[in-house]
């Protein structure tokens, strides 16, 4: 697989001459500004500063040569679309066009170009997540052939002490080898944001293993930031999964009760969702994961 050569695509849409420029032409601060400008009218804009954009690019394997900025006769971007690439899979993310330029279909133009680029890079699948309620984006992706895969939850737990009963258990911190073993044993691939490569790229992955008196065992991994815990992964290979999930979350949150917690893209039908809710997690919004088979 190879990255496509840097190239400009120039054309005219209904009313404007435009260029599609590799995102690598801009620094992360400029990319953050362009991205933020495309989100100003969103209900959940999720803006980024340069550091956050840089972390995002690194953590999620964004290929900046393949990713695009759409510009009109100046160096100022009016749209952005990013492509994550991992082996034969591609991930479309951060797609946006500034409000006053949306009538020119630059979103469709950028996605079409990214699909072509992913195919040139011999990717066999492109995936994405769209926020539930973003009907224009959802309709665009359906029109392009993307199909729904699953509903994903973005959930939060505010800081707070645990008042739930503590189960009897034995807990040990996980070494780097132990963490790698848990990742290797993972039964299903997460969404792009929380699949193994993203967790490893975060650089701050921690974990614990637990044993219960009845012989059940399990493990939890998470990413620790300065103020927040995120990307929690529960591994329950032996025993009652819900009982083990309870024990894992109880241990995690008892050790750090005052950490804010955010979990992105928990599958709606995860058997652990009711256990998360017991610990005060609640839904903030939903996404639909979609995918497109590439020829």
């Amino acid at each position: 697989m190879s990255t496509p050569p840097e190239s400009l695509v120039s054309a005219s849409s209904s009313a404007s001459a435009y260029q599609l420029v590799p995102a690598s032409h801009y620094d992360v601060g400029q990319l953050a500004e362009i991205y933020n400008a495309t989100r100003v009218d969103y209900i959940v804009p999720m803006p980024m500063n340069a550091k956050r954009m840089g972390d995002y690019i690194r953590t999620y394997d964004i290929d900046l040569n393949a990713s695009l900025v759409c510009r009109l006769n100046t160096d100022t971007g009016v749209g952005i679309a990013m492509l994550g690439v991992r082996n034969s899979r591609a991930w479309l993310t951060r797609l946006g066009v500034i409000p006053e330029q949306r009538e020119h279909k630059f979103g469709r133009i950028m996605v079409d170009e990214l699909i072509q680029r992913a195919q040139q890079m011999r990717c066999r699948e492109m995936q994405l997540e769209v926020i539930v309620g973003n009907e224009p984006a959802y309709r665009l992706f359906r029109k392009l052939g993307f199909e729904d895969q699953r509903d994903l939850l973005v959930v939060r737990r505010p800081p707070g002490k645990i008042e739930l009963p503590l189960p009897a258990l034995t807990v040990e911190p996980l070494s780097a080898e132990g963490i790698n073993a848990i990742l290797a044993a993972r039964p299903e691939r997460g969404s792009w944001i929380d699949e193994n490569a993203s967790l490893v790229n975060s650089g701050t992955l921690e974990g614990i293993s637990l044993h219960l008196p009845d012989g059940s065992r399990g493990a939890a991994l998470w990413v620790r930031g300065p103020f927040q815990i995120s990307h929690i992964l529960l591994h329950t290979p032996e025993g009652d999964p819900q009982q083990m999930a309870y024990a894992l979350l109880h241990t995690l949150h008892t050790r750090g009760p005052m950490m804010d917690t955010k979990l992105e893209n928990l599958p709606l039908h995860s058997p652990f969702w009711p256990v998360f809710q017991q610990f005060g997690y609640h839904e903030t919004f939903r996404r639909i994961e979609m995918s497109l088979a590439l020829s």
């Binding site: 953050a32 933020n36 100003v40 209900i43 980024m48 500063n49 103020f227 804010d260």
Partner: protein
């Protein structure tokens, strides 16, 4: 007159909020990111903080969580400043220990009154 800190990355929103609050007689400081907003709050000890829930370096909820863990800010009026749907905004504000929600876009006629109510402890309860 109160000292109010507005933590908001959108310049149009922060300028409008500041103009309306200064017209109401308050002193207003603006921070565009969570980190500078937290530093400013800890240094200046304001009477109220308006927190945008979507900041470029950290979520507004996390800002509130960090402040509420400090004894000196446990009672500081923290108001979520957001365009989220009302149900979601109120639920999140309650969960994170904020005192209220003011919706975006700003209602320019009501905004100063809404903030004054929170300063006086009579703001709309969550």
């Amino acid at each position: 007159m109160a000292l109010i800190i507005v933590i908001e990355d959108n310049e149009m929103n922060s300028r409008l909020a500041a103009r309306l609050l200064r017209k109401a007689g308050h002193e207003v400081l603006i921070a565009e990111e969570a980190e500078s907003g937290l530093t400013m709050t800890m240094e200046k000890h304001p009477d109220l903080v308006l927190i945008d829930m979507g900041l470029p370096d950290m979520d507004g909820q996390t800002v509130a969580a960090v402040l509420r863990q400090q004894d000196s800010f446990s009672q500081l009026p923290l108001i979520a400043f957001t365009a989220w749907p009302e149900d979601t905004a109120y639920e999140m504000a309650r969960a994170y220990g904020l005192d209220g929600v003011i919706s975006k876009p700003i209602d320019t006629r009501a905004f100063a009154g809404q903030v004054n109510a929170f300063l006086q402890g009579s703001g709309e309860k969550l």
